[in-house]
């Protein structure tokens, strides 16, 4: 029974892992600018994320250690510190974007500007971490996140041309604005395959004391979770294509994005969009603050757990407190959350090899995984997708910067 509940929750957690400011923003921009043409990038992201989550869960279940533990003791502190600082810096930008996302959602509801909400939002996230335990952090946002099912309902109401949608699953070149097209493909991949999710997922598996009996269930949670969250992101893309692309609207601000839900749900659309955005971004902000703290703490061998009282994990609690506080500073300075998101997603793609290559070496090391090392399929899928996103990032980021 316990495993069935964990299974259900795990799949729903896919929403929290997948749908957050990064994937919402990139999916909306992609739908508005290129209609269904970028669906393939989202599908690639879903597949890659599913495989990577499965791996991190398997790593934790077999070795009883997290991926971070493995990175430090397999590669030594020097290399570990390079990976850690690279990933942590990029993920920190994502955290700023998530807090900005919640602030935006509240702004839509109240009309009071974003800079005012950075601190209260970070405080709320901090309070939930301080008072709650791992289950709360993982499950509450996920269950509230079911509100994002309205994106799927919206698509259903607007009746897209499914033949065209399916064509979007195959990559094709756009008629105009190729640099922007590839840049968006990169951002979508970066939004889908965030390395912190592997660290968070494996830390969760260790906190919940997974063992080898979880290998099967882990496969379902990882696969179905990524698919569930990812397909909702596809729904966002389709909605955006139906509402914005059809009307030739270029989406640059969040208050414009909310109109996407106003067409299928004239009365509740904006509120639904704000709620969905607020809940998923808050959940993601908590996950990221914890992920960065796990990265530092597990890397240094601290006792890290979301289960006990803060005083029993003083360094760990200090870490997430400081991280959340630091993330409010850019919001106070009135940065544009969409800009931060776009930059953070592209940087995630560009730095993927840094996180993935050592991770794959670990996943093929039988000192950790005994008889459960990666098979050829897992290895090739992740390597291919990583290379695609890296090459696209290397080409399109300079194009985007110099092309304006």
């Amino acid at each position: 029974m316990k495993k069935i509940i964990q299974l259900a929750l795990g799949i729903v957690t896919g929403i929290g892992g997948f749908l957050e400011i990064g994937s919402v923003t990139t999916a909306v921009q992609a739908g508005a600018a290129f209609r269904y043409q970028l669906i393939w990038a989202l599908l690639l992201g879903i597949v890659c994320l599913g495989f990577m989550l499965e791996m991190s869960g398997r790593f934790a279940a077999v070795s009883k250690h997290t991926v971070i533990d493995g990175l430090r003791d397999r590669f030594g502190f020097g290399f570990f510190s390079i990976v850690l600082s690279g990933v942590a810096l990029v993920v920190f930008l994502v955290l700023v974007a998530e807090i900005g996302g919640v602030a935006l959602a509240i702004e839509m509801g109240t009309g009071v500007g974003i800079p005012w909400w950075g601190m209260p939002v970070a405080f709320l996230a901090w309070l939930l971490l301080w008072k709650g335990n791992f289950d709360l952090v993982e499950d509450a946002p996920s269950i509230l996140g079911l509100i994002t099912l309205f994106f799927a309902a919206g698509v259903h109401r607007l009746e897209p041309e499914w033949n065209d949608v399916i064509k979007g699953a195959v990559p094709s070149l756009p008629a105009t604005d190729k640099p922007h097209y590839w840049f968006l493909a990169v951002s979508i991949l970066g939004a889908s395959v965030s390395p912190h999710l592997m660290y968070f997922y494996s830390s969760g598996a260790v906190e919940e004391k997974w063992d080898k009996t979880y290998i099967g269930i882990n496969r379902i949670i990882a696969g179905a979770g990524a698919a569930f969250g990812g397909l909702l992101a596809v729904a966002v893309l389709i909605l955006s294509a139906l509402v914005f692309h059809a009307r030739d609207i270029d989406v640059e601000r969040f208050d414009q994005m909310a109109r996407m839900m106003k067409v299928p749900f004239p009365e509740w659309g904006v509120v639904l969009f704000a709620l969905a955005l607020g809940v998923t971004c808050l959940g993601a902000a908590m996950e990221i603050a914890l992920s960065i703290s796990y990265m530092i703490g597990q890397g240094l061998g601290w006792h890290c757990s979301e289960e006990g009282k803060p005083v029993e994990e003083a360094r760990f609690s200090t870490a997430y407190t400081v991280i959340l506080f630091l993330a409010t500073i850019p919001i106070l300075l009135n940065i544009d959350p969409i800009k931060v998101t776009t930059i953070a997603m592209a940087l995630t793609s560009a730095t993927l090899p840094l996180a993935i290559v050592p991770f794959l070496i670990l996943m093929n090391d039988d000192a950790y995984l005994k008889d459960f090392t990666n098979g050829i399929i897992s290895n090739s899928v992740v390597v291919v997708i990583m290379l695609i996103s890296f090459v696209l990032a290397a080409v399109s980021i300079p194009l985007q910067i110099f092309g304006g």
Partner: protein, 119 residues
């Protein structure tokens, strides 16, 4: 046993099963006409700084001397206290017999326990 593979960077677990940090450095002794010997394990920010780059040593040492618990720059653990080896190193002493948790205790006492709900 291979020292770097099996000892360096491994997590240290004390006799009560609590995590007490990682092996940041190793001290070897080379006595004349005898085999080299592993003498002790060391932990601390200064040692990690040495491993990353020399430019980091001074700022880290300065910080350690001016903020926090101001413990000795490095925590040393005699090799004889290593009880079992595996994925982690298990010791036969308690973490509190060393200064490994100085920062943990300092933060707990000075900050975390003073925030409502912290303790």
């Amino acid at each position: 046993m291979r020292i770097v593979r099996d000892v360096l960077d491994k997590k240290l677990i004390d006799v009560d099963g609590s995590e007490m940090g990682r092996v940041d450095g190793i001290v070897l002794e080379f006595p004349q006409d005898r085999q080299p010997r592993l003498v002790r394990l060391e932990m601390g920010g200064e040692i990690l700084a040495e491993r990353v780059g020399h430019w980091l040593i001074r700022p880290v040492t300065w910080l350690g001397a001016h903020i926090g618990p101001r413990r000795k720059a490095r925590v040393s653990i005699d090799w004889k206290h290593v009880d079992r080896m595996g994925r982690d190193l298990h010791l036969d002493i308690r973490a509190d017999e060393t200064e490994a948790l100085a920062w943990e205790h300092w933060l707990a006492e000075n900050f975390i326990s003073r925030i409502p709900g912290g303790g």
